[in-house]
């Protein structure tokens, strides 16, 4: 019974921890620009991250290898180093965007300047990492993120034309480059590579073994699945409210406005509070991901569970990445712009992360009877094909659309 409760608590945290600033920005903009037309791309992304998170968690639990272990082993030193450099750039940019996001939300909640809040946010994150054990950190942000369930309530309160919403789940291709740019963005925001870097390393932090495979699968399917409902909800509430008005949200605060429209100040506070936890959790995940990757690639001791005495290089690198994130967030670039660049650049780094995971997960010499079955294999390669196509399309689309600016 206690085991079931523990698994349930983990899954609930996964639901709350699903969204990050990339999802918030891209889903809201997608709704405003294309109403419900991109819902299918959200679902495509959610299934993709569930497939790869399950695979990377299974590899970590069974073979004891987190993602960057696997990357260096399967891609060798040279390509592995390329993957490390690309992932680190994307992770630090993502971290900067999340820190900026925290600061924007705090700025809206309390009246003080943005730059002060970036530093305050980073100090708060260090404090939380210092005080809570690994599992506690995840749950703290995961549960807080559940405040965003107000998005689902808002959908029902708005009561949109359900037929029109339903048609959004049927894939449609619009030839405009802006539409294609948002297909890539919405998809990539769901599949950010730091999520699997963090998830698989977290499995090692929590000492997962084969016995945790059921938990791993439920986390991926239920946790990410229900988390994905929040992303779908964000597209719908934004499409319902902003599309008819022709508003183009370029401010993170806009994400919360539909909830204010539905439930007044309570709705606004719940939405901003939920966003704060989601973005804060993602700042932890992306900063840890950067350090996990570096330490794993170079063979250093690593892990929150080791503490700064046993893993000093890992801890020091985490603080350095945090400082870099602060510096970028303080540079005066709009965090929404940083987000867009980090998400689109992430697509380019995705194949380098996901191919090695796919290769090891299907390799019986490492995974024995836990190797990919037919379904995981089929979905894995299907998504890998999609990722490669999008990776090739991402940069031209970014340039052609002026980062979604039209």
């Amino acid at each position: 019974m206690r085991a079931i409760l523990k698994i349930a608590l983990g899954i609930i945290a996964a639901i709350g921890g699903f969204l990050d600033i990339g999802d918030l920005v891209f889903t809201t903009q997608a709704g405003a620009l294309f109403r419900y037309d991109l819902l299918w791309a959200v679902v495509l992304g959610v299934v993709g991250i569930a497939v790869y998170a399950e695979m990377s968690g299974r590899v970590a639990a069974v073979s004891g290898r987190p993602v960057f272990d696997v990357i260096r082993m399967r891609m060798g030193f040279g390509m592995g180093l390329a993957a490390l450099i690309a992932s680190t750039i994307v992770n630090v940019l993502t971290l900067a965007a999340e820190l900026g996001g925290i600061a924007i939300v705090l700025e809206l909640l309390f009246d003080a300047p943005y730059s002060m809040f970036v530093v305050a946010a980073a100090i708060a994150l260090v404090g939380i990492v210092a005080l809570l054990p690994f599992g506690g950190i995840e749950r703290f942000f995961g549960y807080g993120g559940l405040l965003l369930l107000v998005v689902v309530a808002t959908v029902f309160h708005q009561n949109p034309d359900w037929g029109e919403v339903g048609r959004g789940f049927i894939p449609s291709i619009d030839s405009s480059t802006l539409y294609l740019y948002f297909v890539v963005g919405v998809f990539a925001a769901a599949l950010m590579p730091y999520e699997v870097h963090f998830y698989s390393s977290g499995a090692i932090e929590e000492r997962w073994t084969e016995e945790n495979l059921k938990e791993n699968r439920l986390n991926a399917i239920v946790g990410y699945g229900v988390g994905g409902i929040l992303a779908v909800g964000l597209v719908i509430v934004s499409g319902f409210l902003f599309h008819p008005l022709g508003v183009e949200p370029d401010n993170l605060g806009t994400v919360a406005l539909p909830m204010q429209g539905a439930f007044g100040e309570t709705g606004l506070l719940l939405a901003l509070g939920g966003m704060l936890f989601c973005v804060g959790g993602a700042a932890i995940d992306s900063s840890f991901a950067a350090s996990y990757n570096l330490a794993q690639f170079l063979g250093w001791e690593w892990g929150r569970y080791q503490g700064p005495r046993k893993a000093p290089r890992f801890t020091a690198s985490w603080l350095v990445f945090l400082l870099l994130g602060i510096a970028i967030a303080q540079s005066g670039i709009n965090p929404v712009d940083i987000t867009e660049y980090s998400v689109v650049l992430a697509v380019v780094a995705l194949p380098l992360t996901y191919l090695p995971v796919l290769l090891i997960a299907g390799d019986r010499s490492f995974m024995d009877r836990y190797a990919n079955g037919r379904v995981a294999s089929f979905l894995g390669w299907l998504y890998f094909a999609v990722i490669v196509v999008l990776a090739l399309a991402a940069i031209p689309l970014l340039l052609a659309t002026n980062a979604g600016g039209g």
Binding site: F77, G78, A130, P308
Partner: protein, 119 residues
């Protein structure tokens, strides 16, 4: 599995994580020394000084400039194959890291962060 018999060297050994006898992560198998005929593995080579030789020639020169030359015993270590205890998901050594000169980078005395107030 004991550390003998045939293994696919590149598949199962090169680039693997190395842990010492106490389970501490102390580096990766950056290169492998083979000798004899037929060739047998005689040592694992570990250290950042070896990174340039793992890169394509065009990048190796740049990397050499950054990492400096290979200095055996310093940035390039030779771990005799006899010191390898087991090959599991890591390469487990028979001795503690210090006895083999490994893991110095994670020596807490070199780092101020060891004073941070979380375990």
């Amino acid at each position: 599995m004991k550390a003998e018999g045939d293994i696919y060297v590149v598949h199962r050994l090169l680039d693997e994580q190395i842990c010492d006898s106490e389970g501490k992560r102390v580096g990766r198998v950056d290169d492998i020394e083979l000798s004899g005929d037929p060739p047998r593995i005689t040592a694992l080579l570990v250290g950042e000084g070896l990174y340039p030789r793992r890169l394509p020639r065009s990048l190796a020169r740049l990397a050499r400039r950054i990492s400096g030359p290979e200095v055996w015993g310093k940035n390039a270590l030779r771990i005799p194959w006899e010191e390898v205890d087991e090959l599991t998901s890591t390469v487990k050594l028979r001795k503690k890291a210090e006895e083999l000169g490994l893991g110095l980078g994670d020596d807490p005395d070199r780092w101020i962060v060891r004073r941070l107030p979380w375990n």
